[in-house]
């Protein structure tokens, strides 16, 4: 009897709790992963609806739907929600689901912290969204919230905004600590660092970036709070402060932040392309080195967001050169994906389609990034729609496409049901056309001289804006197919998936049943017996 009791307390109960308590109290990495993913999907739809409102207003010149004040609230909330509510939690959700299964661990290293870091998010975003109904309106100073527009001239809701950024930051830091602890301590025996799957590697690097920069963001919003309520003058020139210092601190966070949103995407694509090319990743070692180099370089390029603030010439040159340098490791990543496809035996299921589109369209975003790095030319590009086109190319068909590809790729493992391939492909083609129709014309209107963040524009920008708006609705509405496909999988409608799922898939997650049992790898897997090589030797 005592033996039996010891056994049950040491092993988790086999079945999850039922009802709402399962989700409130869960410390299971799969449950928490699912909650993160669903939360980010909801945020994607909310942030996306705001984007559609913005595009409706910009459909033609003139003010039709909203006043400029509300327009600014929409651009601000759209940015904040997409960055902190949709993209980042989606990657954390995937990390939760996949990292323990990929390294052969039973769960995340810090399960209770895991629960808390998820449950902070609904409160943070509930608070952000509630500002829409506050006196003075929601934050209206853009997601980059430059002082003094966000301090002296901000609506009162800025205080709630600051508080929710703090909560998001705490959630992200705890998530990052958890990922690092899991990867460093809980790998199955025999899985050394250079045998870790790419997704695990990219997340390890991302987690360190998060640890390094989220406190900086917390610092900058705290300084804002002090300026607003406690009479300090960090960013107020009248009191001896410096508004440009805000931008330096913000972008010291903000530039690594963009890599936080793209490195896990590199990891996802580095799983999908080898699977459907039926070939190992061309250069695993160089990919790991390239990803690490990007992470290191990302700390010394921040002021390329600020070429027009009047930095000294030497500063401009330094940040121009360092930014150009970051193109080299990024190029290595792209060349490696292409070399992986070369002479493969390719099939084109939905995850592969999204991954190929990722490589092409992310590269376009990368190349326009290279153009933006040329400081003299940036004086013309800066704060125009060219920049809007650039960062949407790296974030929508970049980060978001990789997330969609990853969901299609792993959802059979998560739910045990194959998604509807025909609908998946239909979703892909509509998204592909829609995304390009939306964002490609923005390059042109930007070069032609349209500033970003304006609710109304001169007549020569009308035609491409109309095209972009039509594309936005096509792209936005086609995501409903994705939602439907996911719901069908969750409701167990569709063919059951085999444990292997994909012919060419490699990795520990494919050695467990589909759907993955509630508890996996409670005893560490024997890598030798599984002939685990992560595609390379």
């Amino acid at each position: 009897m005592t033996d039996h009791q010891t056994a049950t307390t040491h092993e988790h109960s086999a079945a999850p709790a039922t009802g709402i308590k399962r989700w409130l109290y869960t410390t299971n990495h799969k449950d928490i992963g699912s909650m993160y993913l669903i939360f980010s999907l909801v945020m994607l739809l909310i942030g996306g609806s705001m984007a559609l409102l913005i595009r409706s207003e910009l459909f033609q010149p003139g003010l039709q739907l909203m006043q400029p004040e509300f327009f600014n609230q929409m651009t601000t909330l759209h940015g904040i929600i997409m960055v902190f509510g949709a993209i980042m939690p989606a990657f954390v959700g995937m990390a939760n689901w996949l990292i323990p299964m990929m390294v052969g661990a039973p769960d995340m290293a810090l399960p209770r912290i895991n629960n808390w870091s998820f449950w902070l998010l609904p409160f943070a975003f509930g608070m952000v969204l509630s500002t829409l109904f506050m006196e003075g309106g929601a934050p209206n100073f853009g997601w980059t919230f430059y002082a003094p527009l966000s301090t002296t001239y901000a609506p009162p809701s800025v205080t709630f905004f600051i508080f929710s950024v703090h909560i998001m930051g705490i959630s992200s830091v705890m998530g990052a600590v958890n990922v690092i602890a899991t990867i460093m301590n809980m790998r199955a025996p025999g899985m050394n660092y250079m045998k870790m799957p790419m997704f695990v590697w990219t997340w390890l690097i991302t987690a360190f970036l998060l640890l390094a920069v989220m406190p900086v963001l917390a610092g900058v919003v705290t300084m804002m709070l002090m300026d607003i309520h406690f009479g300090t003058s960090f960013f107020d020139a009248a009191g001896g402060g410096d508004p440009v210092m805000f931008q330096h601190i913000f972008w010291f966070f903000g530039h690594p932040e963009v890599y936080i949103m793209i490195l896990p995407a590199f990891g996802i694509v580095s799983h999908i392309i080898p699977t459907f090319a039926r070939k190992p990743l061309f250069g695993y070692h160089s990919m790991v080195i390239a990803t690490s180099s990007i992470a290191v370089l990302s700390f010394i390029v921040w002021a390329h967001h600020m070429f027009t603030v009047g930095m000294p010439l030497v500063g401009e040159l330094f940040f121009m050169y360092s930014t150009m340098l970051i193109a080299v490791p990024t190029g290595v990543e792209v060349f490696n994906w292409v070399a992986t496809m070369f002479r493969g035996s390719m099939t084109f299921e939905t995850p592969m389609l999204f991954s190929i589109a990722f490589v092409v369209l992310f590269t376009i975003g990368g190349l326009s990034g290279l153009m933006l790095a040329i400081a003299p030319a940036d004086f013309q590009y800066h704060d125009t729609y060219f920049v809007v086109a650039h960062f949407h190319y790296v974030l929508v068909p970049g980060a978001l496409f990789s997330i969609i590809a990853g969901v299609y790729f792993w959802i059979p493992k998560w739910t045990g049901v194959m998604y509807n391939e025909g609908m998946g492909k239909f979703h892909f083609w509509l998204s592909f056309v829609g995304v390009n129709l939306t964002f490609f014309p923005m390059h042109f209107i930007g070069l032609a001289g349209m500033p970003r963040r304006i609710p109304d524009y001169a007549l020569q920008f009308a035609d491409f804006n109309m095209v972009a708006s039509i594309g936005a609705f096509l792209f936005g509405l086609s995501q409903l197919i994705f939602v439907y496909n996911i719901i069908q999988c969750i409701r167990q409608r569709g063919c059951p998936a085999s444990p292997q799922v994909w012919e060419g898939a490699e990795g520990l997650e494919w050695t467990v049943d589909s759907p993955a049992p509630y508890h996996t790898f409670q005893t560490p897997p024997d890598l030798d017996k599984l002939q685990y090589s992560n595609g390379h030797n």
């Binding site: 010149p61 003010l63 039709q64 739907l65 400029p68 004040e69 600014n72 006196e135 209206n140 430059y146 003094p148 527009l149 002296t152 009162p156 020139a237 090319a277 039926r278 070939k279 990743l281 061309f282 250069g283 070692h285 027009t308 009047g310 010439l313 040159l317 193109a327 080299v328 290595v332 792209v334 292409v338 992986t340 496809m341 070369f342 002479r343 493969g344 099939t347 190929i356 092409v360 376009i364 190349l367 153009m371 040329i374 003299p376 030319a377 004086f379 013309q380 704060d383 042109f444 209107i445 032609a448 500033p451 970003r452 304006i454 109304d456 524009y457 001169a458 007549l459 109309m466 595609g535």
Partner: protein, 412 residues
């Protein structure tokens, strides 16, 4: 600064959200029908043969694809850099996507392609690290040279201080008395579709920044409130105007003409409504303009007695231009952010307080201090108008001289 929060009761909030939703849905329906109509008319305009599109090379031609070639030497250099880096990107894209496309077509499983599991080649990795590095170094050299030239603000012929305000520009010609504001002239009716949009919709101002051609003009940028950014694409100048700090830039325009630009840094709700119009003229015209402008400014600051009707007429013009973006043409505002003036305590209350808020603004809110932006006549007219329009009917009026004495009492 008052930062206390007025939390509406929960029920009120709920009702408010329903009202907002209803409003949005209603306007969505309205707009949908309007849009589908414009969409079809516009599409029938844009789909006809490409040659037609290319022919329409007007100053305002739509379907503009590329950066403007510029009216300055620096601008042309930047355009050259832009095209070079663009072609480099196109070349890289063609090679990378070409190889990828080739694999996608040839190396498919459905064609019986078998995977060749080659991987890891240090030589290949070194090659594709080195080649981009060399390209970047080659690119960095001309870019560095251009940047050095852009930063050389020495030996200027004319210095102009540019100050960004929410939401207008102020131009002070240093070493002269010329000092004026430049404000958008596009009407609210045009923005709201009640009037046909003019050719330079949102890109037109009352007072142009006039500069002579072939002279090195140095600009000193700063701002009164938040950060703005002064951008004229044709001159390839974009510089942030930052409160408390001075930035520099310069230009030497070669061709006479009118060049239009916009504020490029989000600066609040009027960010899209503070365009820049530069008028480049010959040296003689410039000198003549300077003299005229100095005289005109003197005249504008002189005050004379105006009748109630004159004040009301001038007041409406001034109000629509300076106040209606927030307080609306109807005086109803957009509460709670922008309060209504119709029936408001200030417009119907003590006249000195009314003058005070218009002249000095309200700290911590979007209400700017108009004391230095407008002439005493304009201020008097606007205040009179606000007290008597939209059924406010106070019946009192303010003379420009009263504004002058108010400002003198404040020591301005």
């Amino acid at each position: 600064m008052d930062h206390s929060f007025h939390r509406p009761k929960l029920q009120l909030l709920f009702i408010k959200s329903i009202i907002i939703n209803k409003k949005i849905i209603h306007s969505l329906f309205e707009i949908f029908s309007k849009y589908t109509h414009t969409l079809f008319t516009r599409l029938s305009n844009i789909i006809p043969p490409l040659s037609l599109i290319l022919l329409s090379a007007r100053a305002n031609s739509a379907w503009e694809l590329n950066m403007v070639e510029s009216a300055t030497a620096i601008g042309r250099e930047i355009h050259g850099l832009h095209m070079t880096i663009f072609y480099i990107c196109v070349a890289i894209a063609i090679i990378v996507f070409g190889i990828m496309l080739y694999s996608i077509i040839r190396h498919r499983k459905s064609l019986g392609a078998e995977a060749k599991p080659f991987h890891e080649s240090t030589v290949v990795e070194i090659i594709w690290t080195t080649i981009p590095l060399i390209i970047l170094v080659v690119m960095a050299i001309p870019a560095t040279n251009t940047l050095i030239a852009m930063y050389d603000t020495e030996a200027s012929d004319i210095d102009i201080k540019v100050t960004g305000y929410q939401w207008k520009w102020r131009y002070e010609y240093l070493n002269t008395d010329v000092d004026f504001f430049s404000t958008l002239t596009t009407t609210q009716d045009q923005m709201h579709g009640l009037e046909t949009k003019s050719e330079n919709y949102l890109l037109e101002v009352d007072n142009h920044l006039v500069i002579p051609i072939n002279k090195k003009v140095r600009f000193l940028f700063t701002a009164q409130d938040v950060i703005h950014s002064w951008w004229v694409p044709d001159h390839a100048i974009k510089k942030d105007a930052i409160p408390g700090f001075i930035n520099e830039s310069w230009t030497k325009v070669e061709k006479p003409g009118i060049y239009r630009g916009q504020c490029a840094e989000l600066c609040g709700q009027g960010h899209g409504y503070m365009p820049i119009v530069v008028e480049a003229v010959s040296e003689e015209d410039y000198q003549a303009w300077l003299i005229n402008q100095q005289q005109a400014q003197k005249n504008a600051n002189q005050v004379s007695e105006l009748s109630f009707d004159e004040l009301m007429v001038q007041g409406k013009t001034g109000y629509d231009k300076n106040c209606a973006a927030c307080h609306q043409v109807t005086g109803l505002g957009i509460p709670p952010v922008f309060p209504a003036l119709k029936g408001s305590a200030i417009a119907l209350g003590d006249i000195q307080q009314h003058i005070d808020i218009v002249v000095n603004g309200k700290a911590g809110s979007a209400m700017a201090a108009f004391g230095e932006q407008l002439t005493p006549t304009e201020l008097a007219a606007i205040i009179t108008y606000e007290r008597n329009a939209w059924g406010n009917d106070k019946g009192d009026s303010i003379q420009p001289a009263e504004i002058v004495s108010f400002k003198q009492a404040q020591g301005q």
